[in-house]
Symmetry: C2
Subunit: 177 residues, 2 copies
């Protein structure tokens, strides 16, 4: 049986997501047997920055944190489109508070800044938002992967192998919901 | 003689600038007789998000704050590309400290966040970065134009008429360098 069979992952997306940062973790987690649910501001097609499309099957009002074992927040322009909506911010806030893994990459921490869950936490992100992460009270470090408690973070698409592996490791370590 | 003859404006640009937020203030200020100098990370062609191109004639090492009467910071993806370069951040910091007008729109305040010049200041910006502006110590308000001392700010391309008029007004009120 694949390593993640029975595991349910929430991935939050919006317009202008960074293609590889959504598609690659999704495919990697699914290849290991996990179910990945794409949650958007509306259901339907969502466009990546570089031409990829994904289908959001659920909106935030359709789901609850308790249904999922982990949250993945891809980067690009999606996080800034999500962070201006209370339901997306509240979902992220509850997820971090639940103690279950929350993995963000690139601009992904913008959603966590708006959820005000980074104070005292160590994270990385794309350097373009490092000052915002620090102003939100986080300890920013520039490395391909940072794991601080339930927060997993990486910087750029080139970090995806380490990022994906860390999500799998965190899920393997955690009890399935 | 046009209203702004003899006035010299610095506009900072980088890849993915929001087309109208650079082109329209530039053309408006030039139509009134101002000289607008486009300053980039390198000289040469810079691409807007939507197909406009502008030519950066100077880099930050070629210029000093004392040469200019005002600074304009257009939005889009340009500010996050500028804010990771010390020379761009330092230029913005010195400009704000000089007391001369500094006008930012949309994502423009990202550069001012990195320059750490927003503490206690009242500004507006695109709502996608409002939390970052607040975390940087600013008082964020949601209105088409905010003028707080030498800081002029607007939110989105639709605010450009008010934004452009405020820059002209600030220059008309200030002594020419």
């Amino acid at each position: 049986m694949p390593k993640l069979t029975g595991t349910s992952i929430a991935m939050v997306i919006a317009e202008n997501f960074e293609d590889s940062e959504a598609v690659e973790p999704k495919e990697h987690l699914e290849s290991l047997g996990a179910q990945v649910t794409l949650i958007g501001l509306t259901t339907g097609t969502v466009n990546g920055k570089k031409g990829a499309t994904l289908e959001a099957s659920h909106t935030f009002s359709d789901v609850s944190v308790g249904q999922f074992d982990a949250l993945v927040v891809p980067g690009g322009g999606a996080p800034e489109n999500l962070r201006i909506h209370d339901e997306a911010v509240e979902f992220a806030r509850e997820f971090v508070a639940s103690g279950k893994p929350v993995a963000s990459i690139c601009h992904g921490p913008q959603l966590l800044i708006s959820a005000d869950v980074l104070r005292g936490r160590t994270v990385t992100c794309v350097n373009k938002i490092r000052d915002d992460v620090m102003n939100a009270g986080a300890n920013y470090v520039d490395q391909e992967l940072v794991v601080d408690g339930n927060l997993i973070s990486s910087r750029v698409p080139g970090d995806l192998p380490a990022f994906n592996a860390a999500i799998v490791e965190a899920l393997a370590a955690a009890p399935v919901a």
